[in-house]
């Protein structure tokens, strides 16, 4: 299945084969990563456009552009797209697929066919989700949480969307499965567990969550589908079911999944910061193991989404307590990142600034999470726009910022070209400013008591909602500018060297862009771990290798 290439090993993986079929049936992890990237980018634009329109609707009280039903369908679709089609696959399926095998010193993931299959599942799931826009009784209006009994009785096309989420769940499971096997089996000789790059650790912890939490939500959503088709009261109290049980099962998955979103992002930060500071990471083991600790503890906090459902006091205390415990390994990571900047030799690059912006946003996101975790305060801010701001700070300000940062960091490696740094700074500035204005205002209006999923609101909330909407305009502009810069540079940018940022992990030892089988020489590993900058000279002697592009 693999030995059909004949060309010389220097040729980039783009050129090893041509034609559409060579892409959509490829087994090459790099091409699959790009397939994911392009599909995710499309859905990201759709999801963002929906978010943007919602913000316009909320510019003033009263209906501006649509009726309530449409608004409800919009935030549902926005949420489903952003969660299932964008952020869960984003970093693992794009950068994990592209970089993990190279960073481990191998030529592909362990199960390449399964890898392709999971992309196809992703496409099928996406088509199913989009199909609800076109036919059926209109897209679902339940919110991405699909709470019973509303999801059981709603006359919109909920079942199709649920099935789509089910299929997408399996795509995510298979990606995780593949990474676990890859990490166990394909590390280069001499790369022990604690010699792996931290991105690999992040992916490993993530993969376990994908593997062990997703099936539960899968079967739960399937139960809702069956319930809708057969009229059985599994979760519908009118027929004797228990809606709280649905929430338990849903959050058993959907809390751990927020760490699916953030752990790989934290892994990438742990790559960018040492490279930018040109020194070894501070507290390697602490960062690696805290990923595992977060993944593990994350399984036992799901009840914090249900504090106001009449949950038993005993359970509420346990869930609140464990929620606070998760904050500790996260704090350890943040401290170690900042300590890594200490006494470094720091090169300011767009990718470093995206990372710093991430740390700032994520601090806000994480610290607002503490207010959610504390019982008394959660009762007040539960289901208000404060929560909406909390999770945009963690997901957008966290994961998506890192996604953008990673695009800038690995851009030369993936496309073999450089981008316009000045434009990159401008885009970052606009996005950062717009983002904080928009969600900062939502934090405040949430504390004042504006519930979420509100099509219309009371006049006292108007002021802050206006500010928030204005923020979204800067955000839009910044993101469009960034996309413009990257797309143009991928075709017209200056050619990139092998190692533009002087990194020492293995991906900087292969040509930019890498050849089909990644390595043209044996990877150089340091005894002292993955971030030993004393071997930089040895790595960069391959820099002279001619790049054909």
């Amino acid at each position: 299945m693999s030995e059909n290439h004949t060309s010389n090993s220097e040729e980039s993986f783009y050129k090893s084969k041509k034609g559409l079929a060579s892409w959509i049936f490829t087994l090459d992890h790099k091409r699959i990563a790009l397939l994911y990237l392009y599909s995710i980018a499309i859905f990201f634009l759709v999801g963002m456009t929906l978010g943007f329109i919602m913000r316009l609707e909320l510019f003033a009280p009263g209906g501006q552009l649509m009726n309530p039903r449409t608004y409800n369908q919009m935030f549902t679709f926005h949420g489903v797209i952003m969660i299932f089609l964008v952020i869960i696959p984003s970093i693992p399926a794009v950068f994990g697929n592209f970089m993990l095998p190279i960073m481990l010193g191998t030529d592909d993931v362990a199960l390449p066919k399964l890898n392709l299959f999971s992309w196809w599942l992703y496409v099928i799931g996406a088509v199913m989700a989009l199909s609800t826009l076109v036919w059926g009784n209109g897209p679902a209006d339940t919110g991405w949480t699909f709470y019973a009994p509303y999801s059981v009785t709603s006359d919109t096309d909920v079942s199709m969307l649920l099935l789509a989420a089910f299929v997408l769940g399996f795509s995510s499971i298979l990606t995780g499965l593949n990474f676990i096997v890859t990490i166990h089996r394909l590390r280069a000789p001499g790369m022990g567990w604690f010699k792996m790059p931290l991105f690999a650790w992040g992916l490993y912890a993530t993969a376990w969550i994908q593997l062990l939490a997703t099936p539960i939500v899968g079967i739960t959503l399937l139960m809702v589908v069956v319930e809708r088709s057969f009229g059985i009261g599994l979760f519908n109290p009118a027929l004797g079911g228990d809606p709280i049980l649905y929430q338990h099962l849903f959050w058993i998955y959907s809390h751990p999944v927020v760490y699916v979103m953030i752990l790989p992002a934290m892994g990438i930060i742990s790559e960018i910061i040492p490279t930018s500071a040109q020194r070894t990471i501070f507290g390697y083991k602490a960062i690696a193991l805290s990923s595992m600790a977060i993944a593990f503890l994350g399984y036992f906090v799901w009840g914090h989404h249900m504090f106001t459902t009449g949950m038993s006091g005993e359970a509420a205390i346990v869930f609140s307590f464990v929620t606070f415990l998760v904050a500790i390994p996260t704090a350890i990571k943040v401290f170690n990142w900042i300590a890594t900047l200490y006494k470094g030799s720091i090169h300011i690059t767009p990718n470093l600034l995206w990372s710093v912006a991430f740390v700032f946003n994520f601090l806000i996101g994480g610290l607002t999470g503490l207010i959610n975790g504390a019982l008394a305060t959660d009762v007040h801010i539960h289901d208000t726009t404060y929560i909406v701001a909390h999770f945009h700070y963690t997901m957008f300000g966290g994961t998506i910022f890192v996604f953008f940062g990673a695009l800038h960091y690995w851009f030369p490696k993936i496309w073999g070209r450089m981008y316009n740094t000045k434009l990159a700074y401008w885009a970052l500035g606009l996005v950062f400013f717009g983002f904080n204005v928009m969600y900062g205002a939502m934090l405040v209006v949430g504390i004042q008591g504006m519930p979420r999923r509100y099509f219309d609101y009371l006049p006292e909330f108007e002021h802050l909602n206006k500010i928030s909407t204005v923020g979204s305009w800067f955000l839009v502009f910044g993101i469009l500018l960034m996309i413009f810069n990257l797309v143009r540079s991928a075709r017209k940018g200056k050619k990139a060297p092998r190692n533009p940022w002087n990194g020492v992990t293995l991906e900087w030892q292969v040509p930019s862009p890498p050849p089909l089988h990644n390595f043209d020489h044996a990877p150089i590993l340091s005894e002292k771990g993955p971030y030993d900058f004393s071997i930089l000279g040895e790595i960069n002697k391959y820099e002279t290798t001619k790049i054909d592009k």
């Binding site: 090993s9 362990a110 593949n178 394909l186 099936p215 027929l239 004797g240 020489h521």
Partner: protein, 206 residues
């Protein structure tokens, strides 16, 4: 420069990796059913009496026969792998055919059980079913859902085993190269494993 070949490659044959993949997949299957077991547990607790009443309708003999059939099929699969490891292809194939026969027996048995319930009106949408107390309908629904899902797994497992037979004939599975056979076997044992829990939960606790 000479094309450098990485020592651990995603394109080398890696039986251990494939086996690990299978185990991991089985974990997801366990948790898939796990979600249903959680639902079962909660409703057993909430509808204690109704569950008890309706469980009377279950036929323990049929359940027991199916249990024995599945255990026996697990045995034949295990034996066939042992035979294959010892290089005895013929015996392995014979044992696999026996497994398929047992699987068919299981499904036929299950079919009679279901049709029997349906004849008694104990199925969704039926009048008798609609008259049942709430917890009782829930029990039956879980029964159909869980054994139905399990039945699908039996079918998938049988297809996998049939593929093993085919591959043995084609010589694609042989003494040192039998990871596909082993993985199909693992899957089949999982099917057995789940039934081991379904049997007491639906038949014995009345």
């Amino acid at each position: 420069m000479e094309h450098y070949k990485v020592p651990n490659s995603g394109h080398n044959r890696d039986d251990e990796g494939k086996k690990m993949g299978m185990w991991l997949f089985l974990f997801t299957e366990i948790l898939l059913f796990g979600g249903l077991f959680l639902v079962y547990a909660v409703y057993r607790f909430q509808f204690f009496d109704q569950f008890k009443v309706i469980a009377e309708h279950m036929n323990i003999t049929m359940g027991a026969i199916n249990t024995v059939i599945l255990i026996a099929s697990s045995l034949t699969v295990a034996l066939s792998i042992t035979a294959m490891k010892k290089g005895n292809n013929k015996l392995a194939v014979l044992l696999l055919f026996m497994t398929l026969a047992l699987a068919a027996g299981f499904l036929v048995n299950k079919y009679f059980e279901w049709t029997n319930h349906i004849d008694h009106g104990l199925f969704m949408g039926n009048d008798v079913f609609n008259e049942l107390a709430r917890g009782e309908g829930m029990f039956l629904f879980l029964y159909y859902f869980m054994t139905g899902l399990h039945g699908i797994h039996v079918i998938v497992g049988s297809v996998l085993l049939a593929m093993v037979i085919y591959k043995i004939y084609k010589g694609k599975i042989n003494q040192p190269n039998l990871v596909f056979h082993e993985n199909a076997g693992l899957y089949w044992h999982l099917v057995d494993l789940i039934w081991i829990y379904l049997f007491p939960l639906f038949y014995l606790l009345h």
